[in-house]
Assembly symmetry: C5
Homo-oligomer: 88 residues x 5
């Protein structure tokens, strides 16, 4: 999984039927110090993350292993909201 | 999924039989401000996007989870046309 | 899929049995203007592309969805020979 | 697989149910000389690696082929602790 | 598949049970002229390649399509030893 920060939401009326009802979040990759990276990914949200929250997201076929995304054309999903990074 | 902009169409007469009848769109990755990135991907279009439209596309095995692309040798598919990015 | 240009052929006598009889083409990624990119991928050829031709290739598990490559340890396959890019 | 070094642990209370009980390690990619690379990945740990240890991790669907991660939304897993790199 | 050169071997006593008995080779990506690239991948070897040999390796789920790696947490496998690149 990759660390990211939710920076916004994507609105799309015309979309594949299987995406209906899914919240699509804009997630910017960040490093372990919380600094922005350049890549931004659109993720389905399976945990209810809000803008500004630090999250983990899974990509590829693993993004289809949540109840919400199974067998859907989804290649990125938020799977956790990060409380703390412990880097001794 | 990744944000992109449709910039054109690919014409190919000689192709794998399973691609017959599929519209192949040239999609340039863009960032969350709509600025061009360098990567261009050829996507099958499952939603009827036109040149100039901002879209989401899914990659990898997830690109085969639409009705149009199931079990096909397709690794990128347009799954939504973006109305708006809401980045508060 | 990604745009590429066939630049040569790979010869390999010692290989996994499942690759026997497959033509292995060296394909350089190109951009939408036909300019070379730095990445070169070795693709199985399912459409009979020759050196110098512009092609599309699929990667990952999608590369195993052609008749030739099904269930084989192949992660890149040429699926089309490009006639024309239409970028209005 | 990729070489990495465990640099910390991720704490997350709110997460997909299927991640419950899994240890999530922050792993920095390193090169074959042990030098840091910029990419940091969050991996599930299937071998009990501690902070500072050099490890191998697998990504993508292959990360779901351990007993711990099967069918879970996990795209990176530590599969070995490296004793030595033999580069003659 | 990608061109690489075997540069060494990885020793790991503590590892996922499914990796037991597999030879883990350090493979540096090279370009079509044999020049080193910066990326180094750890591959399972299904063809008996030695240090210094030029090889092809497959990644992702395709790396699990050899007899040796089927259903294993392996995301990179050497599938061929290159005799010659023919780039006219």
């Amino acid at each position: 999984m990759i660390l990211g920060k939710v920076i916004g939401t994507v609105w799309a009326t015309r979309k594949d039927d299987q995406l209906k009802g899914m919240k699509l979040q804009l997630v910017r990759e960040i490093d372990e110090d919380g600094k922005d990276k350049s890549r931004v990914v659109v993720c389905v949200d399976s945990v209810g993350a809000g803008v500004g929250e630090v999250v983990l997201f899974a990509q590829g076929s693993s993004a289809r292993q949540t109840e919400l995304t199974r067998n859907k054309p989804v290649d990125a999903v938020i799977t956790a909201i990060v409380d703390k990074l412990d880097t001794p």
